[in-house]
């Protein structure tokens, strides 16, 4: 497939936003059960989730560039019963809205206690709203990934690993950002977030490598014989029905040289996994904000390369009709 930068930005940016919110909410949840120290409410959870919102808005903004008719985007919420894209279109704004409410609860300080499960476990409004938002965050990961995983004849995508990778890669980048954020506001959660960022990055490395290995050994169901229905071992295409190319020759081929295509794989493996883990490890040892920030930026660039490769690697069966490309 031809990787569209609008979709690359959309999926990576909202992944960071979701991951960052999940990191912040995990911090709050742990502090409620007294595993972690309580943070400054407006400064940490409030502004932190606003930062997550910035990434989500950026992703949503970028997604409009993918549409031929962005002014009709509102129509895309119609077919949520059948279309994962439609579900994403509903869940993304819902998640953004709830993230904003969560952030405002912390910043305004209006956070009434709703109920208490025991003396130690008091559920206030922010914890409740955050809980709903956590569900939305995971729902959004699933919607985004299922858009790709549900297209069964794009065999590189049609695997549960796609969903696992979207969740883990988004969370890894979000936790990396939360580490940098915690370092910036000088919170004592740096090591908690940093540790989890490393764990999630390593986990994502394992599952993404698993999907790379799977895709290396993929057996394609369709071939030229089944595409045109002629059983023969030697079929050569002589004409493809257009002189200067068509939508079919532009949309479904990445167009990069094989050497570039291969090198992007190694580039993303290094930038999204190896370098961030090294940077995070050294940053945790030195507690330098700039290293945490660098770890996040490098990982984000790596994830953009990862997403480019994700699209480029998918081999659409319609390409069988365009043998000479």
């Amino acid at each position: 497939m031809h990787p569209a930068f609008s979709v690359i930005f959309l999926t990576t940016l909202i992944g960071v936003g979701q991951g960052l919110f999940l990191a912040l909410y995990t911090g709050q949840l742990y502090s409620v059960i007294k595993v972690l120290p309580v943070q400054d409410s407006p400064g940490f959870y409030g502004y932190g989730s606003l930062l997550a919102l910035v990434f989500l808005v950026g992703g949503l903004f970028s997604s409009f560039f993918h549409l031929g008719r962005p002014e009709r985007a509102w129509r895309s919420a119609a077919k949520w019963k059948t279309s994962w894209l439609s579900r994403e279109v509903i869940v993304l704004p819902a998640f953004m809205g709830t993230t904003f409410i969560y952030s405002m609860i912390h910043i305004s300080g209006w956070n009434p206690v709703l109920f208490s499960l025991s003396d130690a476990l008091v559920v206030d409004l922010s914890l409740f709203v955050g809980g709903i938002n956590m569900v939305l965050a995971f729902a959004l990961f699933i919607c985004t990934a299922m858009i790709y995983a549900c297209v069964k004849f794009l065999q590189e995508w049609a695997t549960p690993l796609t969903v696992v990778n979207y969740v883990l890669l988004g969370m890894a980048s979000g936790f990396a950002l939360s580490t940098a954020f915690a370092s910036y506001v000088e919170s004592d959660l740096i090591h908690f977030y940093g540790g989890w960022a490393i764990v999630l990055t390593v986990a994502a490395f394992i599952t993404r490598s698993a999907s790379l290995i799977r895709n290396n050994n993929i057996k394609y169901k369709s071939n030229l014989s089944s595409a045109i229905g002629i059983r023969h071992t030697s079929i050569k295409q002589k004409a493809q029905g257009s002189m200067g190319g068509s939508f079919n020759t532009r949309e479904y081929f990445h167009g990069a040289k094989p050497s570039l295509f291969k090198s992007i794989k190694w580039i993303f493996l290094v930038l999204a996994f190896v370098v961030p883990v090294a940077l995070l490890t050294s940053a945790l040892a030195t507690d330098m904000f700039i290293l945490f920030l660098l770890a996040f930026i490098v990982q984000y660039i790596g994830l953009m390369a990862e997403r480019w490769f994700f699209f480029a690697q998918a081999n659409h069966p319609q390409n069988l009709y365009y043998q000479s490309l």
Partner: protein, 243 residues
């Protein structure tokens, strides 16, 4: 339930592209807006088409066959492009099984084109909506046309009658008969999309004649046993009389 479709006979298609041009001519003149072209008279011409003809060479010289392969939307009975559409712009008509795009609802997200294994959908770079074969839905029901012309433009244009149009769910229709009798098949059946359009394979026209069929069985002379049957290499009256 009616399922209108095309049956394309690869045995007689000569690859003349008459279906391509007549499709483009009819559909670019329709009320749904023209099908845009870029550089039509220049280097690298490109544009939106509902139908394209490709050519394949099967086998190694000298045992080769040139197969011209017209390719358009197959109007699947289980169209994978329809459920993925977020707006409902892509739909399959209950009435006749035609898969259509509502150009006023389409947001041009291209997801349906990803979900079509055949690459039958093309985005119109000018209108920015997804377009595809409509089976000339604006023509086949037009009662101002004589009944013989209520067929898709490509079918009417084909000089070798390689394109047949009809209801593939009606066992008595011409298309069903052709599929049955001439080994009609579907493209990429492995994906379970159940394409309504069928293709008829290349085939040789053979006739088997047995030896006894060369002899006239109801020869009255033979019947009445008046004369013995001449041997095969003997001269007969016919051999002497013919010039």
């Amino acid at each position: 339930m009616t399922q209108l479709a095309l049956v394309i006979d690869l045995n007689v298609c000569v690859g003349c592209h008459a279906c391509v041009t007549s499709c483009k001519e009819w559909n670019t003149s329709g009320t749904a807006g023209y099908m845009s072209d870029y550089n039509p008279y220049d280097k690298d011409p490109t544009g939106t088409f509902f139908n394209r003809v490709q050519t394949f060479e099967v086998g190694e010289f000298p045992n080769t066959q040139t197969v011209h392969f017209p390719k358009s939307c197959l109007h699947c009975e289980e169209p994978p492009c329809v459920p993925v559409c977020p707006t409902g712009a892509s739909y399959k008509r209950e009435l006749d099984g035609i898969v259509l795009v509502d150009y006023d609802k389409c947001i041009g997200c291209k997801y349906c084109s990803w979900a079509c294994p055949y690459g039958a959908r093309e985005i119109d770079e000018n209108q920015k909506v997804m377009k595809k074969c409509t089976l000339c839905v604006d023509r086949i029901y037009d009662e101002t046309l004589p009944e013989s012309e209520r067929k898709p433009a490509c079918v009417l244009a084909c000089p070798t009658s390689a394109r047949l149009f009809g209801d593939v769910n009606d066992p008595d229709s011409n298309v069903s008969e052709q599929i049955r009798d001439n080994g009609g098949y579907q493209l990429m059946p492995e994906w379970g999309t159940k394409p309504a359009n069928h293709y008829l394979p290349r085939r040789k026209t053979n006739i088997t004649i047995h030896r006894d069929e060369l002899t006239r069985v109801d020869n009255p002379l033979n019947k009445e046993r008046q004369l013995p049957m001449p041997d095969d290499d003997d001269q007969t009256l016919d051999d002497i009389m013919s010039w």
